[in-house]
């Protein structure tokens, strides 16, 4: 049997539904006349599991899992990793430093742009964004440990 995309997607939803249902043990279902905090989530999880099963059963119409195009995965992984590091540093380094580093790293690591071009662009862009958001629109941008 060929493994198809809906087999994987359906199985993922079933697994997710079962896992969250297991985590919902402490939520009271209540009675129909007095529904508890757990009633709606538990009903939704059951619905999700049922639809997950339906997806698996009707998977023959979906394309084979092996045919899903993943050529963009390196790009996606790099972007997630770099943005994740930026999010971690954001409250410590503040807006100006974090955003300059974020844009610079994306341009040099992901896009392989010349370092000087990337540096000029990232500094210029961050300063413009800082002025527009922080000064013109008066949005309170995060200040880092260096005070800016």
């Amino acid at each position: 049997m060929t493994l198809r995309s809906d087999h994987v997607a359906g199985a993922a939803f079933i697994a997710f539904g079962v896992l969250v249902l297991a985590l919902s043990g402490d939520l009271p279902f209540g009675r129909l006349s007095a529904p508890g905090a757990g009633m709606m989530p538990k009903l939704l999880l059951v619905v999700m599991i049922v639809f997950g099963i339906a997806l698996v059963l009707g998977a023959a119409a979906s394309k084979p899992f092996a045919e899903i195009e993943w050529s963009d995965r390196t790009h996606a992984l790099l972007l997630v990793a770099i943005t994740g590091v930026a999010v971690t540093l954001y409250t410590t380094l503040g807006f100006i430093l974090t955003m300059t580093l974020l844009v610079f790293t994306l341009l040099t690591v992901v896009e392989r742009k010349p370092v000087l071009h990337a540096a000029a662009y990232s500094i210029g862009l961050t300063v413009i964004a800082w002025w527009v958001f922080g000064k013109a629109l008066k949005a309170p941008l995060e200040r880092g440990i260096l005070g800016f």
């Binding site: 995309s5 809906d6 994987v8 997607a9 939803f13 969250v20 985590l23 919902s24 939520l27 009271p28 129909l32 006349s33 007095a34 529904p35 508890g36 905090a37 757990g38 009633m39 709606m40 989530p41 939704l44 999880l45 619905v47 999700m48 639809f51 997950g52 339906a54 997806l55 009707g58 979906s62 899903i68 195009e69 993943w70 963009d72 996606a76 972007l79 997630v80 943005t83 994740g84 999010v87 954001y90 409250t91 807006f95 955003m99 974020l102 844009v103 994306l106 341009l107 896009e111 742009k113 990232s122 862009l125 961050t126 964004a129 958001f133 629109l137 949005a139 309170p140 941008l141 995060e142």
Partner: protein, 521 residues
Amino acid sequence: MGVTLDSLWLGFSVALQPAVLWYAFIGCLVGTLVGVLPGIGPLAGISILLPITFGLNATNAIVMLAGIYYGSQYGGSTTSILLRIPGEASSVMTCIDGNAMARKGRAGAALCIAAVGSFIAGTFGVIMLALVAPPLATLALKFGPPEYTALLTLGLVFLAYMSTSSLVRTLLMAALGLLLGMIGIDPLSGHFRYSFDIPELGDGIGIVPVAVGLFGLGEILSTPSRQVTAEVIRPKLRELWPNREEWRQSGWPIARGTVMGFLIGIIPGSAHIISSFLSYAVEKKISKHPEEFGKGAVAGVAGPESANNAASTGAFVPMLALGIPTGPVTAVLMAALMIHGVPPGPTLVNDHPQVFWGFIASMYVGNLMLLLLNLPLVGLFVNLLRIPYAYLYPLIIMFCVIGVYEVAHSIVDVWIMLIMGVVGYALKKFNFDPAPLVLGLVIAPIFEMSLRQSLIMSDGNWLIFLQRPIALTLMVVCAGLLAASAVSAITARRDWRAKLAEETKETKETKETKETKETKE
């Protein structure tokens, strides 16, 4: 009618104030840019710019954000026609014949027809909004919890029925969205649900991080810069005016697209996207020369462009009159109104007439601005399209982070955005539409509250939804739609939705083939 005219007069007295005009202009300009630039749609654009409106009053905020929404429908056509890449999802159909017209040297005419069609559709939509929303709001005052439950159920069923992907996939996404909406403190019992001792999750998951993650970051993750080429056709200003034959061919498609778009816009779902696909299908079906479609048919530009603009205006009817979002964009706009202490819904017309009518009047003005903005400034937008995508997306990621963080100054929200970006990427790979997820997230609190209140009212009797006339009517419509879906699924009959899905698939495949070819070259 007299009352409506008086109210419109009040609206124009608000909309023509310099500050409101300024924010309408900013909204239209930003909306056009959002529509023009690939990789950022109206939802991400509105969500990112939402924090900027915190310092404005409710009227200025909603006027600006709505301007971004309908402005993006105008802007999306520019990229579709000149670049054959839809700047916005609803512009996919315009790519086909708009770009074919451009390759025949009629880029200016295609842009002009798209702009004029959008203007007519937008203006018609606003007139209808002014006429339909107030009486609907009066009717909605009679709604109690069972009616709201039935209405929201109908919304979800309609969304699933109208979806070009399968009923199961749409409802799965909606269920996931509803489930995400359950996170946080239960308003009736005070229980913490799925907050895992993270205090920020106590208030639940916000719509902005989810929307920006799914539609902004998710799109960027799946679009490596090498796949975005910039082969832009630059029209000359003197070529903008269509010839007599082109005007003649665009008249009826604009009229049909306008009416169809408005009616579809009222229905929940990604109406502006569905309406453009349906309009294209209808025009092709009734055309005396269907073979011209795909090779630069004027009707293939005029119809879909009018339809998506009318639909984006129609979507405001349930939002303003009932307080129910028909899609993720209206959901964010509702959130914006609520942040400003103006709850959308039946009481909006009476409690905040200046906001309601000022907003409607500003849309008349906004449509005129867009017409004046889009045609003369087309050269500027063409130059924007020449910015390499490799330099553009870091800017968009920066805006995503700022936009999400500034809503509540919560780094947890930014993490949620990042996670949702990955989820959006995965959903795209497995052919799931994330729009129902966002809609589910937004309606979750209203849906749960009204369902539980209905059950408490009836002492646990589900028949309450069949004992009240309005709720019964809505439930009968639900049952009818589900039966229609079931019949077509059991008999494997290809109805209009299946044909529409095929058209969508064909268009996407053509675009992907072109991108792959260009990448290889």
